[in-house]
């Protein structure tokens, strides 16, 4: 029996290389990387060699590896559901799936059913939900979920490479696709992708501030060049603004604000890919401000440590209903925002 949990990665791109391997290098008391899988055999082999792990190009080989206790699904989004379900069916001890859990609510429900059926816990690697700076704020925010009326998420980021290259030495970085943004369908798709790839980090946090989300209505949505979105929506009786812009700037800014009449939450997250500790949250009233964080441990570490605690039986498995509801909310936002992009063009044409 291994003294540490053996980890197998499905997909060995920049997320595996720049996020998870550096994180697990700091958590060697709990984890050992045992297997790296990718459809690119050379990439899988090279990345695996860095950590002394086996490699393969087939999912079955990874799932059959007895040294793999925990499967980390870092494959393209469209394959998440298939790979998570397969890992559960293989009887692994746990699955960590990169966000989003899947690309539809039905897929999410299927994953939840399989997780229940097999008893294999599934965690979503939504690092902000694990971030100590965020969690400390939620533990102290009192009635903010009920009292808040306005929520704003704004994400400004340089190209990922700026951070990936400072976290590790990345192999085989996928090229950003060249797209024709004069095509409204392309813009709608990009906004959808932006929600599922970028807003997805904070949508679970936003959902935790909402009494409900089945009344979601997107007021306006637009694509922001060269890549980003601006979405204004009303949900749960609150107005929510989602904004993201990726450019060639060096200066990142990742903030989540929630406003009530007498209390404001302001959280500043570190960018993705960096290993620079936790977010810093500030809860402000007219009389005082309480600051939570930064902690030296970031959300990536926290999610892996929580997974280890679950496997050891020290923590309860994640609330799958909540996880699936997070996905349902994200998909609804993405779909409605994409529809709004298309509808705006139709309205302009009609006018």
């Amino acid at each position: 029996m291994q003294s540490t949990l053996g980890v197998g990665f499905v997909g060995s791109g920049p997320v595996t290389q720049a996020i998870h391997l550096p994180t697990l290098a700091r958590l060697t008391d709990d984890f050992t990387v045992r297997h790296v899988n990718d459809i690119d055999a050379t990439l899988a082999g090279t990345v695996a060699a860095r950590v002394g792990a086996a490699h393969s190009t087939s999912l079955a080989a990874l799932l059959d590896d007895p040294l793999v206790d925990v499967v980390a699904v870092c494959s393209p989004h469209a394959f998440h559901a298939e790979h998570v379900i397969a890992a559960c069916r293989a009887g692994k001890k746990a699955v960590l799936c990169e966000k989003p859990l899947a690309m539809s609510a039905d897929e999410g429900a299927a994953i939840a059913a399989v997780s229940v059926d097999t008893g294999v816990p599934v965690l979503v690697g939504a690092m902000h939900t694990f971030d100590l700076g965020w969690r400390a704020a939620t533990a102290n925010w009192g009635d903010l979920p009920a009292a808040s009326h306005t929520i704003r998420s704004s994400i400004v980021l340089p190209p990922n490479a700026r951070f990936e290259d400072l976290a590790t030495e990345v192999l085989a970085r996928p090229a950003f696709p060249t797209v024709d943004v004069s095509d409204v369908q392309v813009r709608a798709n990009m906004v959808h992708a932006g929600v599922m790839g970028l807003a997805i980090h904070d949508l679970p946090l936003i959902r935790s501030l909402l009494p409900r989300h089945d009344d979601l209505r997107v007021i306006s949505a637009s694509f922001v060049t060269p890549f980003g979105y601006r979405i204004l929506m009303v949900v749960g009786g609150k107005v929510v603004e989602l904004h993201a812009a990726m450019s060639q700037t060096w200066q990142p800014s990742w903030v989540l604000d929630a406003y009530a009449d007498d209390l404001v939450l302001h959280t500043e997250f570190t960018p993705s890919y960096v290993h620079a500790g936790s977010a810093v949250s500030t809860l402000t009233t007219a009389e005082s401000a309480r600051v939570f964080g930064p902690s030296a441990s970031n959300g990536y570490e926290a999610e892996w440590l929580e997974l280890a605690a679950i496997v050891r039986g020290e923590d309860a498995p994640p609330d799958l209903d909540g996880v699936v509801d997070d996905l349902r909310f994200a998909v609804a936002v993405a779909d409605a925002a994409a529809d709004a992009v298309r509808a705006a063009v139709k309205a302009e044409a009609a006018a």
């Binding site: 306005t150 204004l232 009786g237 107005v239 450019s247 060096w250």
Partner: protein, 265 residues
């Protein structure tokens, strides 16, 4: 009002006879107060934080009328405007925090005046969302720059205005404090070589407005009123076109907008 009077006292050389400067509170009915001040022989009038209302009859005033706007009067504008105008972008955000219960039409007017000062006039605005707690609106400048306006109510943090323009490789961001004190605005320009914080100016917007009044050439003495008039028309149209945008559970209120006072253009 007293804040402007206090500011006037800090310019004893520019205004040796401050009694000649009439200060008019911009609350409801301010055009009539301005008219009375002009009729009583004021050599200059300062309108403090005017609410949107009709006042076409004032555009032929005989004495200078300066608008002391909540954000646009801040002395940072002189250095911020060139920075914003030099930056290339297709979108700018203008966000303000105000006290709960504030008048949204006035808040939007203050934002329009700020964007005018920084980037140029916005000739049309569309209210996208309005509740008791927040307003979101969209507009664009003559250059086609999209402007996202927001007004959020809270008493937890001081009132402020933030304008952020993201470029292809950086940003220009301006944060203007409430103006109750001489706390300086922060103008930060980010480019490939780093970030630059513009020199801070510990002067209230009231004092800066009065300095502007002192230095205003006769030909420009009504520029403020004309610009205000244009911005007021944008606000009034925005609220007329969207008078009761209801989003449960919030109750929409436009009660504070006076759509009848003054002369219709």
């Amino acid at each position: 009002m007293s804040a402007v009077q206090s500011a006037l006292a800090t310019l004893p050389i520019s205004f040796p006879d401050p009694a000649n400067v009439k200060i008019v509170d911009g609350s409801s009915g301010w055009p009539a107060d301005v008219r009375r001040a002009l009729d009583s022989g004021a050599t200059a009038v300062v309108v403090l934080h005017p609410r949107p209302t009709e006042f076409a009859d004032l555009l032929a005033a005989a004495a200078p009328v300066i608008v002391d706007s909540r954000w646009a009067s801040n002395p940072v504008i002189d250095s911020a405007a060139p920075a914003f105008r030099a930056a290339e972008s297709s979108r700018v955000e203008c966000r303000v925090i105000v006290e709960p219960g504030s008048d949204f039409a006035s808040a939007l007017l203050d934002e329009l005046m700020l964007i005018r000062a920084l980037l140029g006039p916005v000739h049309q605005a569309t209210v996208r969302y309005l509740s008791d707690h927040a307003l979101y609106a969209e507009g664009s400048t003559d250059d086609g720059l999209a402007v996202d306006f927001s007004v959020v109510c809270t008493s937890a943090v001081p009132a402020s205005a933030t304008v952020r323009l993201l470029t292809s490789d950086g940003s220009v961001e301006l944060t203007i404090p409430s103006g109750d004190t001489a706390q300086p605005a922060r103008l930060i320009t980010v480019g490939p070589d780093g970030a630059v914080l513009a020199p801070t100016l510990y002067e209230t917007g009231h004092r800066a407005a009065l300095r502007r009044l002192h230095g205003t050439a006769p030909a420009d003495r009504l520029t403020d009123l004309r610009d205000l008039y244009d911005d007021v028309q944008v606000v009034l149209a925005a609220f007329r076109n969207n008078p009761r945008r209801r989003h449960e559970p919030d109750r929409v209120s436009t009660d504070s907008i006076d759509l009848t006072e003054g002369t219709q253009p």
